[in-house]
C-alpha cells in the first residue's frame, strides 16, 4: 500500500488529488484514533479537535522555535497530545457516558481559549509555518505530506488492529460491555482506560502535526474545526465502531464523499451530508457498515 501510494505521487500529475487524499487519510488516522477509546472502550470523546490542535500547534512551535524536521514535529505533536490524553483521562475517566463526553468537549474549549490568547502562536490571527522548499524523493512538498499521512494512516491502523486482538483490547471490550463486571473479573479498568486515552491522544496529535505545513497559515478556527470533531465521531459510527475496519471504511467513504461534494456541490454542504448520514445510520444500521455487511452475509 505504501509502495502504491508512493507510485501515485510519481505517476499522477494533478496536485489536487494529493490535497484531497491528504484530508481523507488524515481522517483515517483521526477516526482510528477516536475508535480506540470510543469504539473499543465505549468512551465517547467530543474533544478530538482539541487533541488534533495540540498536535498541530506543538508541531508548529517545534518547527518555529527549534527548526525541527517533520518527523520530530510529528513525534512531538503526538507526545504532547498523548500527555493531554493521559491528564484529561485521569480527571475525566472516572465519570461516564454523557458526562465524560461533556468533559472532553470542555477540554477542547479550554485548549482553544489558551491558543486564542497566546501571542507566541499568533492568537486568533494565526501564524505562518512554511514548509521547506525541497521535498527529497518527491516532486513537491504536498506530495511528501500526502505520503507522510499515508504512513501515519497505515501505522495507526496497524496499532489499532493489534490493540483489538490483544489482551489489552479484550479488556477494553469488557469495559465497554460492562465496566463493573470487567473490574470484578480482574480488569484494571482505570489503567486500561488511561492507556487507551493516551494512545488515542498520541494518534490524534500525530494526525494534526503535519497540518501547519499543509495549510501554511495555522490559525485556531480551522484547526479547532467542527469538521474534525464531528468527523472523528461520525466516521467510526458510520463504518462500525467495534473493529479496526470500521473507522477506515467510514473515513474513506465519508471523507471521500465530502471531498467530492466540496468540488461538485458546495463546501458548506459537507457537514450536512455527515449529519444526514449519521442520523440514517444511527436509525437503520447502528452497527455501521461493518455490522450491516456482517448481517447481510450471515
Amino acid at each position: 500500500m505504501l509502495i502504491g501510494g508512493y507510485a501515485a505521487t510519481v505517476a499522477i500529475a494533478n496536485d489536487y488529488y494529493f490535497y484531497a487524499g491528504y484530508i481523507v487519510l488524515q481522517y483515517v488516522v483521526l477516526a482510528t484514533a477516536w475508535n480506540i477509546l470510543g469504539g473499543y472502550a465505549g468512551y465517547v470523546n467530543f474533544g478530538s479537535a482539541g487533541f488534533y490542535a495540540v498536535g498541530a500547534y506543538t508541531a508548529a512551535i517545534l518547527c518555529l522555535a527549534l527548526g525541527a524536521p517533520l518527523p520530530v514535529m510529528i513525534l512531538g505533536g503526538g507526545l504532547a497530545a498523548g500527555v493531554i490524553g493521559l491528564a484529561a483521562g485521569y480527571l475525566a475517566l472516572r465519570i461516564k457516558d454523557v458526562y465524560f463526553a461533556i468533559a472532553t468537549l470542555a477540554l477542547a474549549v479550554v485548549v482553544q481559549t489558551i491558543v486564542d490568547n497566546w501571542d507566541y502562536v499568533g492568537g486568533t490571527r494565526g501564524i505562518y509555518v512554511l514548509h521547506p522548499h525541497h521535498a527529497i524523493g518527491f516532486s513537491n512538498y504536498p506530495r511528501l505530506l500526502f505520503f507522510t499521512m499515508l504512513v501515519l494512516a497505515v501505522g495507526s491502523v496497524v496499532v489499532a488492529r493489534s490493540v483489538e486482538h490483544s489482551r489489552f483490547g479484550r479488556g477494553l471490550a469488557a469495559i465497554r460491555d460492562d465496566e463493573h463486571a470487567a473490574e470484578s473479573a480482574g480488569v484494571p479498568t482505570l489503567r486500561l482506560k488511561l492507556m487507551a486515552a493516551t494512545l488515542s491522544g498520541i494518534l490524534m496529535g500525530a494526525a494534526g502535526a503535519p497540518f501547519p505545513y499543509f495549510v501554511s497559515h495555522l490559525e485556531p478556527s480551522s484547526t479547532f474545526s467542527l469538521a474534525v470533531a464531528v468527523n472523528a465521531i461520525a466516521m467510526p459510527m458510520i463504518g462500525g465502531a467495534t473493529s479496526w475496519a470500521g473507522p477506515v471504511i467510514g473515513a474513506l467513504v465519508l471523507g471521500g464523499a465530502q471531498q467530492i461534494a466540496t468540488v461538485t456541490i458546495s463546501s458548506v454542504l459537507n457537514l450536512l451530508i455527515v449529519g444526514l448520514l449519521l442520523i440514517g445510520f444511527v436509525i437503520f444500521a447502528p452497527e455501521g457498515i461493518v455490522g450491516l455487511a456482517r448481517r447481510l452475509l450471515r
Binding site: 460492562d178 473479573a185 480482574g186
Partner: protein, 234 residues
C-alpha cells in the same frame, strides 16, 4: 482452628443519611459454605460490594487470607482470589461465552484455566460459541458463575444466583455449588430462597437493617427469635 479466609471487622457503610451497614463483623473459614440472608434492604448487596471491592466502606476492615484488602480496588481483589457473581447477570454482551470466561481467566487467574471444560462442567458445553443474548435465565446465571470460576478463585460470592429459577433449576444450581465446594472453594451464598440456603449452608448469617442479628448453624437460625421478628415483623 486455622485462620479464617475472610475476615470482615466492624464494617460500616452509609449512603447519605441511610445506613446500609452498621458495624458488621464476620468471618468465613477456608472451605466453608456460608449463607447470608436478610430481608430486602438489609445490607446484603452492600456487604458483597464492600468485600468484592466495588464499594469502599466508611469504617471497618476487610482482611483476606493474611492481607488487609480494605483499600484495594476490585480488580486486585479478583486477582487475590475473590470472585463474585452479580445479582442481575452482567455478561459481556459482545463476546461469546468462551470469550466471557477468557476475560477473567486472562486478567484474574493465577493459573491456567480451561474455559471450555468449565462451561461443559456447568452444562453450557454446547453454547461455547453462543452470545449471551441467546441464553435463557438459568444459563445466564450459570455464565455468571462460570466467569467467576474462570478466575480460579479461593472465595466465590454467589449473589442470588438462584433468584427466579424453577424448583428443578434451584436443585441443579445447588448441585453445582456443592461440587465446587467439594473441590475446595469457599462459598458465600447470598440468597432469598430459604429452602436452598438452609440446605446448602453450614453456617448462616442474618442481616437486618444493616446489622448482623444472628450467626449460627441453620437449625439455630430457624429457632432464633430475632430472625423471626425481622422476617415476620412481629
Amino acid at each position: 482452628m486455622t485462620a479464617p479466609l475472610l475476615r470482615v471487622a466492624n464494617l460500616s457503610k452509609r449512603f447519605g443519611g441511610f445506613v446500609a451497614l452498621n458495624d458488621v463483623s464476620l468471618e468465613v473459614a477456608d472451605g466453608e459454605r456460608l449463607g447470608v440472608i436478610g430481608p430486602n434492604g438489609a445490607g446484603k448487596s452492600t456487604l458483597v460490594n464492600c468485600v468484592a471491592g466495588l464499594l469502599r466502606p466508611d469504617a471497618g476492615r476487610v482482611v483476606f487470607g493474611d492481607k488487609d484488602i480494605t483499600a484495594l480496588p476490585a480488580h486486585r481483589r479478583a486477582r487475590l482470589g475473590i470472585a463474585r457473581s452479580f445479582q442481575l447477570p452482567r455478561p459481556f454482551r459482545s463476546m461469546t461465552l468462551e470469550e466471557n470466561l477468557a476475560i477473567s481467566r486472562d486478567y484474574a487467574a493465577r493459573e491456567a484455566t480451561d474455559a471450555r471444560a468449565l462451561l461443559s462442567q456447568l452444562g453450557l458445553g454446547a453454547k461455547v460459541q453462543s452470545l449471551p443474548r441467546d441464553l435463557t435465565q438459568i444459563e445466564l446465571r450459570k455464565l455468571e458463575l462460570a466467569r467467576a470460576l474462570a478466575a480460579r478463585p479461593r472465595l466465590v460470592i454467589a449473589d442470588e444466583v438462584m433468584a427466579g429459577l424453577s424448583h428443578g433449576e434451584v436443585d441443579e444450581m445447588m448441585g453445582v455449588l456443592l461440587a465446587l465446594n467439594q473441590g475446595g472453594i469457599t462459598i458465600m451464598m447470598i440468597e432469598h430462597i430459604m429452602r436452598a440456603v438452609m440446605r446448602f449452608s453450614q453456617r448462616i448469617i442474618v442481616l437486618d437493617a444493616g446489622r448482623k442479628i444472628a450467626d449460627g448453624a441453620p437449625v439455630e437460625i430457624v429457632r432464633n427469635e430475632a430472625v423471626e421478628r425481622a422476617y415476620l415483623g412481629a
